[in-house]
Subunit: 122 residues, 10 copies
Amino acid sequence: MPDTSLLETFPTPTDSPLLIEHVNEEFTSVCPVTGHPDFGTVTVRFEPGASCVELKSLKLYFQSFRNEGIYYEAVTDRIRDDLAGCMEPRWIQVVTNWRGRGGIRSRIVATHGEVPSAWSRG
Amino acid sequence: MPDTSLLETFPTPTDSPLLIEHVNEEFTSVCPVTGHPDFGTVTVRFEPGASCVELKSLKLYFQSFRNEGIYYEAVTDRIRDDLAGCMEPRWIQVVTNWRGRGGIRSRIVATHGEVPSAWSRG
Amino acid sequence: MPDTSLLETFPTPTDSPLLIEHVNEEFTSVCPVTGHPDFGTVTVRFEPGASCVELKSLKLYFQSFRNEGIYYEAVTDRIRDDLAGCMEPRWIQVVTNWRGRGGIRSRIVATHGEVPSAWSRG
Amino acid sequence: MPDTSLLETFPTPTDSPLLIEHVNEEFTSVCPVTGHPDFGTVTVRFEPGASCVELKSLKLYFQSFRNEGIYYEAVTDRIRDDLAGCMEPRWIQVVTNWRGRGGIRSRIVATHGEVPSAWSRG
Amino acid sequence: MPDTSLLETFPTPTDSPLLIEHVNEEFTSVCPVTGHPDFGTVTVRFEPGASCVELKSLKLYFQSFRNEGIYYEAVTDRIRDDLAGCMEPRWIQVVTNWRGRGGIRSRIVATHGEVPSAWSRG
Amino acid sequence: MPDTSLLETFPTPTDSPLLIEHVNEEFTSVCPVTGHPDFGTVTVRFEPGASCVELKSLKLYFQSFRNEGIYYEAVTDRIRDDLAGCMEPRWIQVVTNWRGRGGIRSRIVATHGEVPSAWSRG
Amino acid sequence: MPDTSLLETFPTPTDSPLLIEHVNEEFTSVCPVTGHPDFGTVTVRFEPGASCVELKSLKLYFQSFRNEGIYYEAVTDRIRDDLAGCMEPRWIQVVTNWRGRGGIRSRIVATHGEVPSAWSRG
Amino acid sequence: MPDTSLLETFPTPTDSPLLIEHVNEEFTSVCPVTGHPDFGTVTVRFEPGASCVELKSLKLYFQSFRNEGIYYEAVTDRIRDDLAGCMEPRWIQVVTNWRGRGGIRSRIVATHGEVPSAWSRG
Amino acid sequence: MPDTSLLETFPTPTDSPLLIEHVNEEFTSVCPVTGHPDFGTVTVRFEPGASCVELKSLKLYFQSFRNEGIYYEAVTDRIRDDLAGCMEPRWIQVVTNWRGRGGIRSRIVATHGEVPSAWSRG
Amino acid sequence: MPDTSLLETFPTPTDSPLLIEHVNEEFTSVCPVTGHPDFGTVTVRFEPGASCVELKSLKLYFQSFRNEGIYYEAVTDRIRDDLAGCMEPRWIQVVTNWRGRGGIRSRIVATHGEVPSAWSRG
């Protein structure tokens, strides 16, 4: 089951403006209704505060959803909350893109904090 | 014929900002003038209020247009109204992209409510 | 020669915000200087007022340029004026993309009215 | 060597808003240091004043750089100045994209005048 | 190890607005934890002040990271600081895109100064 | 239901070698088990004998599968047989590509007669 | 664990030549050494004998590898053997494409029986 | 109307094996039934005998189909015959790809002579 | 320097026909003349004999070329010989694709043994 | 003018089968009729005999065509002859792809010697 204790952080290496994006194209969880697996891409974008999430710990945290029965919306909401909780970023955005069921592809966006002005020009 | 009663909703799982997009690449209806089938992609984007449309019910609702004689503009307008009616979202946008007739491809956009600021950065 | 009388309209089916785009990838006219054919794509985007252009009539109108000797700029300008005249839209934008002559590709944009705020998010 | 006298113009055919883009994917000049040829794409975008550059003359003007030893930045700056000089446009932007030397691709943007509001929606 | 002394500059050839982008698709450094090589693309965008970085010196500077053990964030931060230091640009943005480790691709953006208004339309 | 009587032919216009391919990207039928619609692309390739299938009649024939409950394999087999029956081609190949159900895309190939040697070089 | 008993078949609906391909882009198993998940695409191509594998049973069979620790080569070999065993096809080919570990992508091909001459032209 | 007299040739410059391909992406003729324009790409491949078709004359010959009412199959057959007649090539292949009518795209291949062994490896 | 002792093998898990391809898109070595880094993709395809190369050992072996001054042709030839030596495959093919120097991209193919008939259909 | 004396060779480093491909995407010469520049890609593939062409000398040789008035066919034929003359390869193939004049793209293939069996599987 999703395990927040896997997440580790390291101190942000600079006070200058920095924006970070991690994309995991190998995310899978399980549909809580049908029991069939769901496959998607998870994109995490953030402007760090004092700390950044460590990459290997992020990978293990994502893998902890593998056999969890959980809706698209709840996956997105939970990742936002867990990462916002451990990093206390100035801004974070979590986007999930799902390969779809029944011919319909879905995409969910969850945010926390104000979008930094530098981002949209990146 | 298009059947609004097929649409079901579930309570939005969070109060935090959430934006949702569902894309159906397998939409078909019938041209009311020629009787030939039309094929298109329907994209629904919304910021939920208290409820979200359930995915399987959305698929069945889309399938109910299969043998309906209806113009591009009316398809788009009706889906916007039906979904706005059952979900009462803060914002909804329906975009239809049609494969075209007579060498002309078409795209119709219908909206309801104010675009949330977070969307365009999603 | 370009024939505005071919254009027909139908009443806009809703008062709710609606944006419409028609793309014709099979446009051809003739270079007035060399007599060689020009090939391009014509994109028409508009927010309708009380009426919308009918698709088949639009196709026949586009075909009426087939043997007309006319510059890129004049094609774009004329389509904008002809469609603005017959539909009286709140906003219209005509974009022509030309395959090019002498190794140079060209693109012309003609507009009329204010861009609706919903468009750029569509 | 670059020859401004090759550039010819014709009167802008309308007072209505018009934006024009010409893309030449076959631009070549010579590196002034090594003597090796440089290859790039030159994009010219402008809102015309009273006159527009004629396409064939533009092509011959571009070809006149073929054996000129000149830096990326100077090519871009010179085309902007030459075209601004002969057309007196309300706005002009020249973008050069270079295939690269030593594993590094480069892109230079030179502008003159205010970006018209209609452009970014084109 | 990263060697700032490799960087050379030349005087900016014009006072007119100029924006410059260099993209190096062949960047490699070493992960300081595992010792495995990292591969990425480095994009540098800037509005020059009185001087511009010379291309060949930039290439050699990038190559000096080849056997350095250094984190993604620190690579990006250091290139921004080194280039801002030697050029004193009005604005500089450094974007690194990394091929990824453990199924996660990353992208880091570091900036210095105000984004020039002309850039986002380039 | 699939209606072979819709198919019309015209005499092949030459005795010289001719190979013909028609691709319909807008094919839809219904899954006989679930009742959900299936969407696919149908490709017909043939070396004509004395007659060729007429294009508009082929389109109407394809449309006659719209509300038929029929398996992928049977669609492919039936189109091959129906077209072989009405045209008596020297060779015919029918390929169906299906958008998929349950995360699995399928492709079925049915043939009749010997592949002409010229085809594989076409 | 991989469960062959999930596989079901149905009688091949025709004696005419038929070739079938099923592509599953959502395959996942587990690396037996590291315990990390592997992600890949499995393509199954066959010329049926008297029976064909049923699609939904194939999907469930693929899902039964989800938490199995198994090498790339063994996955490919086992699927070939299991499907050859239950269908007794004239020819079968199983191709697995893996997203990769440590910067190396892999592809494994396992076959059984003679390639039908019609396939390579399909 | 199609005008064979426009075609000119020049002597093949070598006795060594030479294979030539010309692709015209701007071909248009008229449907003889509906009067609507058809748009397609014409590819001509040949191994020359003593003479080769001159490029500018080939372009004018293609343009002479612009207002001709003629079927896809007849266009392809006629180009093959006209070019075979004026060049007497060892081998020629004409492939036409049509943008389609009524949702169906078509492709016609006409050949004359034996495919040279070097071609399929080109 | 390239270190063959890094290569490890494991027993081929089946006697049935198996073809294997590993693609490393992150290969780098050094030009022996200029000292500048070279970047390329290495593809290894083989039909195993009694043993297969282990993936992690292959990755470390590729990394051992990182600071070696060596020509394109010699890299390709050496990898073929080293892998053929440690695995004794029935067939092996090594393809290197290089990003290029001085505007020229290169590709080298080295083989050992007979191409298995199943491969070209894979 | 094209200068064969620029070409240098080095001894082939192995007796094992080796196939080599060099692709120059920055080739330019001049049309002998109109004086306008031609742009194309030149691909050279060969199985070496005792010697291989040196890359930098090949680049300078290609650059020597820059201001030569010469037909597509003659460029291709001459490169084949010049390289065959200096290398004496077992097989050589030269393919030129031209961006086109008058809307027609062209591709010329010149060969010398027998295609090695290993090539087509590369």
